[in-house]
């Protein structure tokens, strides 16, 4: 087999989800072909299509989705290396019933799923090799940092304030205000810390961006550092993301070599040294003060606030703590101006949000759109409904501490205030879809169980209340409807929820009742039946 003409460049994503469906094997099969050069990009975010192989042609990059290594010979035979559509698979592979057949995507850049988006933070994912710093520069990289270095720190902060950017980690606190606090704090030592703990189920945008386009994070963090006067930075990455850890370490080495990190950031005379630190499997370490404790080498127990980390964070020094997506929005905000970012969005939710479509969904992936898009658009139009083909019954938005919304509430616009009004929360932008097979009593029990496993243990309502919550839900589902004492169990559960909500030190215990109560409110029938 030889490629026609002058050889061929094929892109095979190195994203960990793509690798989990065989991208490495596909890359190996393509590399074995004469005159084919395989390059590894990050994912484009269309995860349901992975592995998505792209072949460079004169028309642009032509995509083939759901490719396996076994498909390669037939695809090449049919002219894949010149961008030709595959032939219809004859017969069907009898030995593998679950096999998904190859889909011809055509010119990937023209794919409607991509072109309908407003990609700001994700603008570069999947286009180049993640640590190719020349490609990053060619695609507009470092422009934000250069502008930040020309401005006074106060003016950089002003741009961020103008953008209206709110923390993408979940709490939605204005990023510019946080930076201003650190800038104005008097201290010889300041830090910048990126929260890459991403513990919420159904969220993976931090991971994808770190794996596909690590320089965007590095640029955002460096802008923060030179602005507030921080000289040291940490990226706290969860241990469940080994590929992201490796990619970020490589990117830091390359950026340092090219003078964007180190003693003299982009020739400015300012120093910023950055390192990756790895968590050790604890959901609570995503809470910022718990993350700081963990970075300092202790148990990840939540600190009482005040003092806020902006004034007393790492080693009691002023520290900018932001989520990865918050940092990743910064380069564009500086390069194009805060106004351009603020022009997108709804109400007080400005800019774009990266939604993560997950769970029982046909077209799962990352989708960047202005805030305000409706949940129904995300789940049905963009996500294609459930993967099982059965009707949607519940959607959990905003991670394990977010509410379960029933199928008739999906018109809600995705904005901080808008979702809060509907009893939900935006959180980190995760959207998890369940079909009608879901047992909501089981999900409510899981919320309590998760809290009991992951509680930091510092306060009683969370530590003990969640365990009692599991027991109480078990008692409810084990007691037939109408049996004596059953009503009291519901009273007890509500009482536990109220205690956790008002008595917990942080949102772990404080918000666990949200999914539980939403399940009780919207799906009471699931708590009625016989023991499951």
């Amino acid at each position: 087999m030889t490629a026609s003409g002058r050889g061929c460049i094929a892109w095979v994503p190195q994203d960990s989800s793509a690798r989990a469906v065989g991208a490495d094997e596909v890359a190996a099969a393509l590399s074995a072909i004469d005159r084919v050069t395989v390059r590894r990009n990050g994912t484009r975010g269309m995860l349901w299509r992975e592995p998505l192989v792209e072949v460079e042609t004169e028309r642009g990059r032509v995509g083939y989705a759901n490719v396996t290594a076994d498909d390669i010979p037939a695809l090449v035979e049919a002219g894949m290396l010149a961008g030709a559509p595959p032939r219809a698979t004859p017969g069907g592979a009898e030995d593998d019933h679950a096999r998904r057949s190859v889909e011809y995507v055509g010119i990937v850049d023209d794919d409607p799923w991509l072109t309908a988006q407003d990609r700001v933070s994700l603008a570069r994912i999947g286009l180049a090799e993640p640590t190719d710093i020349t490609a990053y520069e060619a695609q507009g990289g470092w422009a934000g940092l250069r502008r930040a270095l020309e401005l006074d720190p106060e003016d950089v902060v002003e741009e961020v304030v103008t953008s209206g950017l709110r923390g993408r980690g979940g709490a939605g606190f204005p990023t510019g205000v946080k930076w201003r606090t650190v800038l104005q704090a008097e201290s010889d030592l300041k830090f910048v810390a990126c929260n890459l703990d991403e513990g919420d189920s159904g969220t993976f945008a931090d991971r994808i961006l770190a794996e596909a386009d690590p320089f965007t994070l590095l640029e955002g963090m460096t802008i923060a550092a030179v602005t507030v006067g921080a000289t040291e930075g940490f990226i706290y990455c969860r241990s469940e993301y080994p590929d992201a850890i490796e990619r970020l370490r490589d990117a830091i080495a390359v950026a340092t070599e090219h003078g964007y990190l180190g003693d003299d950031v982009a020739g400015s005379g300012r120093a910023f040294r950055l390192q990756v630190r790895v968590g050790a499997g604890a959901y609570i370490c995503g809470e910022e003060t718990s993350m700081l404790e963990s970075l300092e080498g202790r148990r990840g127990e939540v600190r009482a606030k005040p003092p806020i980390p902006a004034l007393q964070g790492l080693w009691r020094s002023p520290t900018v703590v932001n989520n990865l997506l918050s940092f990743a929005a910064i380069p564009m905000i500086l390069a194009e101006g805060g106004e351009a970012y603020a022009a997108r969005g709804v109400g007080r939710s400005r800019g774009t949000q990266i939604f993560q479509l997950a769970g029982n969904i046909a077209r799962g992936g990352v989708y960047e759109a202005p805030l305000g898009i409706s949940l129904r658009e995300l789940v049905e139009d963009i996500g294609g409904g459930t993967r099982s083909g059965r009707p949607v019954r519940a959607v959990q938005v905003g991670g394990p501490l977010g509410a379960y919304l029933p199928a008739d509430r999906l018109e809600v616009p995705m904005g901080y205030e808008e979702l809060a009004e509907a009893g939900g929360m935006l959180g980190h932008g995760g959207v998890v879809v369940f079909d009608e097979g879901v047992d909501m009593a089981r999900m409510a029990r899981f919320a309590m169980e998760f809290c009991s496993v992951e509680s930091c243990g510092k306060c009683t309502p969370c530590r003990i209340g969640s365990t009692r919550g599991v027991e109480t839900i078990d008692a409810i589902t084990a007691t037939p409807a109408g049996a004596p004492g059953r009503d009291q169990l519901f009273v007890l559960l509500e009482d536990l929820c109220a205690t956790m909500t008002t008595g917990s030190l942080c949102a772990m215990g404080g918000l666990t009742p949200v999914p539980v109560r939403s399940a009780l409110t919207h799906f009471p029938e699931d708590f009625e039946g016989s023991p499951r």
């Binding site: 989800s17 919420d200 994808i208 050790a280 499997g281 604890a282 202790r298 993560q356 099982s388 879901v438």
Partner: protein, 159 residues
Amino acid sequence: MARAGRQAEELTPRSARAESVRDIALRYAGERGPLLEILHATQREHGHVADEDVVEIADVLNLSVAEVHGTVSFYHDFRRTARPDHVVQICRAEACQAVGGADLYTSAQELFAHREDVEVREVFCFGNCALGPSASIDGRLRARTTLDDIAAAESGWSR
């Protein structure tokens, strides 16, 4: 490296391990907040964090043994006993539950109930939530995992 460490351990059980852990601790001791780094490196090299390692690390960092022990026991990743030959981690978080993750976890536990050399562990999210159920077999992440996939992996293990 892990293998060499284990062999050395067999020849002169305590001291070789203690020395190696001390070396690891000293390598990171000068950094800010080095404890987690040291624990990760110890586990990478020796498979788990033993009680004797805790004593060694506490000594190098000038911390109390209780302090180091408290940190080790807080995190799910750190193991106190030797690692079995095979580890199957299955995601039990919501997005994977939406496509059968919880049942996969239960069936995998049953599948390996009779094997002491295999450990089935729950994990809450690999960030592969669009392609669940997610599992990791001996460190390799898999998507849309079925029990058959896990059984197929098992058949490839030498016994």
